[in-house]
Amino acid sequence: SSPVPRRLFGEIKSPGYPKPYPNDNISVWDIHVPKGYVVKLTFRHFDLEPSESCFYDYVKIKADKKNLGRYCGQLGSTTGNHPGRKEFVSKGNRMHLAFHSDFSNEDNGTVIPYRGFLAYYQAVDLDECDPNNAAENDERPQCQHFCHNYMGGYFCSCRTGYQLQSDHHSCKVECSSELFTETSGYLSSPEYPQPYPEDLRCNYSIRLQRGLSIILRFLEPFEIDEHQQVHCPYDQLKIQARGREIGEFCGRESPGSIETNSNEVDILFLTDESGFSRGWKIHYTSEKIRCPQPVPWDRFTIIRDLQPVYQFQDYIVVSCKTGYNLMEGNRKLLSFTAVCQADGTWHQSMPRCETVNCGNPADLKNGAFSYVNKPANNNYQSVITYRCNEPYYHIVTGAGGDRFTCSPEGTWVDQDNQVRIPACLPVCGKPDNPIAEVQR
């Protein structure tokens, strides 16, 4: 008898394989793989003396106290019982092989050199969670809620609101500090939709990253003990968001969907010592918290790519129509961006757009300017023209002429977009009252 080392695979050969096996031989093997595995064995080569019911030479396989068969013969021989490619799988983690050869391998006086067998075995994970694998007398208790198989073993877990007990299989209500951090998920009263247990003090905390808003959607059925006159005297489902009470619910009318506008929600479920209501179930989801739709102060404000909804980390770029300045108070801004913050507010308030004012045009020495537009003002697109004190000066302008417009940049520019104002140059040789002799 040779115990097989506890490995996860190996070979088993008849004595002397691949030479013919000896007569009068009994060999046994005990295959023992680690717990959580089963043994799977196949014959790579099988060549034994055939006989009716394998009376002379044979291999006998046993596992789980059951006989898996008695094999002998040659591939294709009419007598005997050749195993072919059959896979032998144990239910437990042991398998037993027994080889037996009688005193001869003669046939009509001729010795036949039967070579015996070569078998290969391997440990295969036992999926303890597969109900079909639960052995009849399996001492292992079943997982009460969830079973999780892994190579070589398994573990149990419980539904939300339950805690795995020390036996690692059974679950007991434990919902005093359920924490949910996934961006969506389900939570429900224990045993839902079966009636919930009595005397519960369940506290479900949903904690998501800042900037997310949790939406609670109640599924049907929704049933919490209630009283016709008094509001929720027996059992209460309280929902709080960042300490702010959102509501206390009971009865059979579902609260439907609740936008909490918060990334932190606490759900307290308190029950008294009796009741047969089926409880509640929530599918929570989250979305980036929304900010209020930005509203411009005036009709000169442009919000780039206005969106129907703005959420956390979204931003808006605000500018003004040409000729208007972005103003925050009295401060002129070169640009404006507001970001939707994690608390659902914009990180800075909407600016205004005030018309560009170019200020008083530069005075022209020995000349003057006059407003073309009425009423005269220095706002964007106002137009002035420069004149010199004729006839004593004459105007010298750039290519852009003597008309200046208040530009979007807040400067007075001529038609050539130049800021340089004209000049008044003296007119020479033109007396107002030149000598003119009359008498001749």
């Binding site: 033109k430 007396p431 009252n433 000598i435």
Partner: protein, 252 residues
């Protein structure tokens, strides 16, 4: 001015009254330059006093904007920033008024109006203004019949052909080494008593350029032999236009 008339206001709005070494005249160019004769700043025969141009600039008084001397003084002086004397002018050479031209830069540009207006410079391609008989007008606050004038007078004088000037000069100068250079011209009459005189120096001889309709300074009262005893001699501005523009270099 002898044999002239009183100028109306606004007829010679370029006329300046200068007071540097006594009374002189000048003409406004642009809005901050006074054209005048160099000898009103450095008179001939003044000899060794080494007054600097800056000191002279400090001392110079320039009046503009009226025909009456009293009124001019009331209007106030236009201080001078800098004086530019033509390099060819030689105050030591008593009988040589070559290069008798100067520019005074005013500290502050003046505001032009009907009584203060600049005179134009001649177009360097146009020499008709110096042809024999071409009429011009000279205004000035100079002496009239031995009396200094209290108001601006003017007189019309014809330019005279160079050879006539030279012939007359030869007959008058009696061995005086008087120089009649290319940079001068003469104007006036031999017998009619119309002329410029002391105190008119620096004033400009102007002609009406009929093409442009503008009055142009073709000469500067420079020198003569007596007053109204023949021709007067004027600095030929045409020959100095580049020098003037080089200094005044219109700052537009």
């Amino acid at each position: 001015i002898l044999g002239g008339k009183s100028a109306s206001r606004g007829s010679f709005p370029w006329q300046a009254l200068t007071s540097i070494h006594g009374r002189g005249g000048g003409a406004l160019l642009g809005d901050r330059w006074i054209l005048t004769a160099a000898h009103t700043i450095f008179p001939k025969g003044l000899g060794g006093n080494n007054v600097s141009l800056d000191q002279l600039a400090e001392k110079a008084n320039i009046f503009l904007g009226h025909t009456d001397v009293e009124e001019l003084h009331k209007l106030g002086n236009h201080p001078v920033r800098k004086i530019f004397i033509h390099p060819d002018y030689n105050p030591e050479d008593y009988y040589n008024f070559d290069g008798d031209i100067a520019l005074l830069e005013l500290k502050h540009p003046v505001t032009l109006g009907p009584t203060v207006l600049p005179i134009c410079l001649p177009d360097t391609t146009n020499t008709t203004f110096y042809m024999d008989g071409h009429m011009g007008y000279v205004s000035g606050f100079g002496v009239e019949k031995n009396f200094i004038s209290n108001n601006l007078k003017y007189v019309g004088l014809p330019a005279i052909a160079r050879e006539k000037c030279q012939r007359w000069l030869d007959s008058k100068k009696r061995h005086l080494p008087i120089v009649f250079s290319e940079n001068m011209f003469c104007a006036g009459f031999l017998t009619i008593k119309r002329d410029t005189c002391q105190g008119d120096s620096g004033s400009v001889f102007t002609v009406l350029d009929t093409e442009s309709g503008r009055w142009v300074a073709t000469g500067i009262v420079s020198w003569g032999i007596g007053c109204a005893e023949g021709y007067g001699f004027y600095t030929k501005v045409l020959n100095y236009v580049d020098w003037i523009k080089g200094i005044a270099k219109e700052d537009r």
